[in-house]
């Protein structure tokens, strides 16, 4: 009941602050553009002609439609990976700062509800919010492409699930930043910063090899293992859609571990903090 109340509260807040509406508008625009910009001409199971934003595809011979669709979907999946995470962080960045605001946190904490329940209840609310939005965005792209081509590639939906899992880690990090700082700008900027910083770390071996100092090399390796694997997940999303192997479980495991540690730290700090 208490967790349910917090989930409902999270949704109400997202509705009232127009974050949910904003997410839906951006997602809907993306879907509309995709609907009208993607034109395919399929003859006997092969793509005879096609265009995106009026630009014709460069086709070689009788390209099977499945290959074209999965290739196209993989490109969209990579795009959605960036867009989905960007929007989700933006939509949930103010959650904890709004909760821990002086005068508001007192109203919540003075009720007979545990601090862990309170924070995790809001976390669950944010997760349901983002899952619904990602389902709309990824599900919409999937339905549009599938209806236009007749190819139903369920691996595209798995890629949506992978994006959601990666987002969980960033959400946990946002909760940690929110509990520590109570600042919405920081709660939004720092996950973006980590997302960007972690990108080149995929080549940590090469970067470390180019370092003069051993300490710097260790730091690069350390950062790689500690931070979420932004680049690997982007690559995995593409490969998953194309059916070229499983995602990197090590990358996924370390990213989820990062999220778990951040969420655990957020809960522990929230438990001890005086308001």
């Amino acid at each position: 009941m208490k967790v349910w109340a917090l989930v409902v509260d999270t949704w109400r807040e997202a509705l009232a602050r127009y974050t949910l509406l904003g997410f839906l508008i951006v997602s809907s625009l993306f879907l509309l553009v995709l609907t009208f910009a993607l034109n395919l001409d399929i003859v006997d199971g092969s793509l005879a002609a096609g265009s995106l934003f009026g630009k014709a595809f460069d086709l070689h011979g009788d390209t099977p439609i499945e290959t074209v669709v999965t290739t196209g979907e993989s490109a969209f999946a990579a795009m959605l990976y960036g867009l989905g995470i960007f929007l989700a962080i933006f939509a949930t960045g103010s959650q904890v700062p709004n909760l821990v605001h002086r005068g508001t946190v007192d109203l919540y904490l003075s009720r007979p509800v545990g601090r862990t329940t309170l924070l995790l209840g809001r976390f669950v609310g944010a997760v349901t919010l983002v899952l619904a939005n990602l389902a709309f965005l990824c599900g919409g792209v999937f339905v549009i492409i599938s209806l236009k081509t007749g190819v139903w590639n369920a691996r595209f939906l798995l890629a949506g699930g992978l994006i959601a899992l990666v987002f969980l880690s960033y959400l946990s990090f946002m909760y940690l930043v929110g509990v520590l700082s109570g600042s919405t700008p920081l709660s939004i900027m720092l996950p973006y910063a980590i997302y960007i910083i972690a990108m080149p770390l995929m080549a940590h071996q090469h970067i470390a090899a180019a370092m003069d100092s051993r300490l710097a090399a260790t730091v690069v390796h350390g950062l790689y293992w500690v931070l979420p694997k932004s680049a690997e997940h982007g690559r995995d999303v593409v490969q998953l859609v194309m059916g070229k192997g499983d995602p990197s479980w090590v990358a996924m495991g370390t990213t989820l571990a990062f999220g778990a540690v951040c969420l655990g730290a957020a809960v522990a700090i929230f438990q001890r903090k005086s308001y």
């Binding site: 807040e13 009232a16 508001t104 109203l107």
Partner: protein, 297 residues
Amino acid sequence: MSKEFRSWRRRVQALDGVSFSVRQGEVFGLLGGNGAGKTTLVKILLGLGRPTAGRVEVRGVDPRRTRARRRVGYLPEGHRFPGYLSGEAAMRLFGRLAGMDEARITARTSELLDLVGLGERGSDRISRYSKGMTQRLGLASALLDDPEVLFLDEPTDGVDPVGRRHIRDVLLAARERGTTIFINSHLLSEVERTCDRVGILHQGRLLREASVDDLTRPTRRFRIRLAEGQHAPPACLDRYRAAATNGHIDVEVPDLGTLNQLLDGLRGERLLIAEVSAQRAALEDVFIEMVREESAS
């Protein structure tokens, strides 16, 4: 119990060896100027903060424990209700967090919003409420779970005189039902009218804890009211260093004998005495005097 706020730059002793107890069913007022430590103390009593040293119990339980906050109401100072909720939705949210069942939340919400005069505005968003209205909503929210203990931090802050009177009546009704009430305020006249006992907090230290009657005990000052249109002769007043204002005679006497001599003098002048009343020390005077003495020492 003590509380020290530490940062890398400095340390602030917010509470220093504060010790007191509040009896069940009484209204206890905590008085103090700005920065005296009142809000810090209330937050510790509610488990929102933890003491640096010492022990706190509310109904025999450490307030940091979740069960200690069952049937405890709190109206924080400078509260910020989620503006995106309506008054009713806020009551529902906090009722659910208190573990109340839906039917009871619905019944209590309607009853309490009516009680605090928000019955007509319950479905409006809180962001459209005035300060006085949010304060009344705060009181309704604090009373939601029919609390056994009620903590109120500046409950009449931003409320007009009529609303203040209304809040006072609500609190007195809660006291009649046996609710223990803890009020933080610097509106001393309000405290004087509402509280059974008060504690005076200054710079984190509890200077005095006593009943309102003890603190505002009768003084040697008396007010004499003469019959309509009658005036005491100045010579008579000068003899006792009495002052006449607006038909009253205010006088401070060393003993009752002197007071009666003055009354005899007035009667001797064939003046009709309508009322003689002993003046009590105002809580405000006691508070200011105590704080001044402490600051001087």
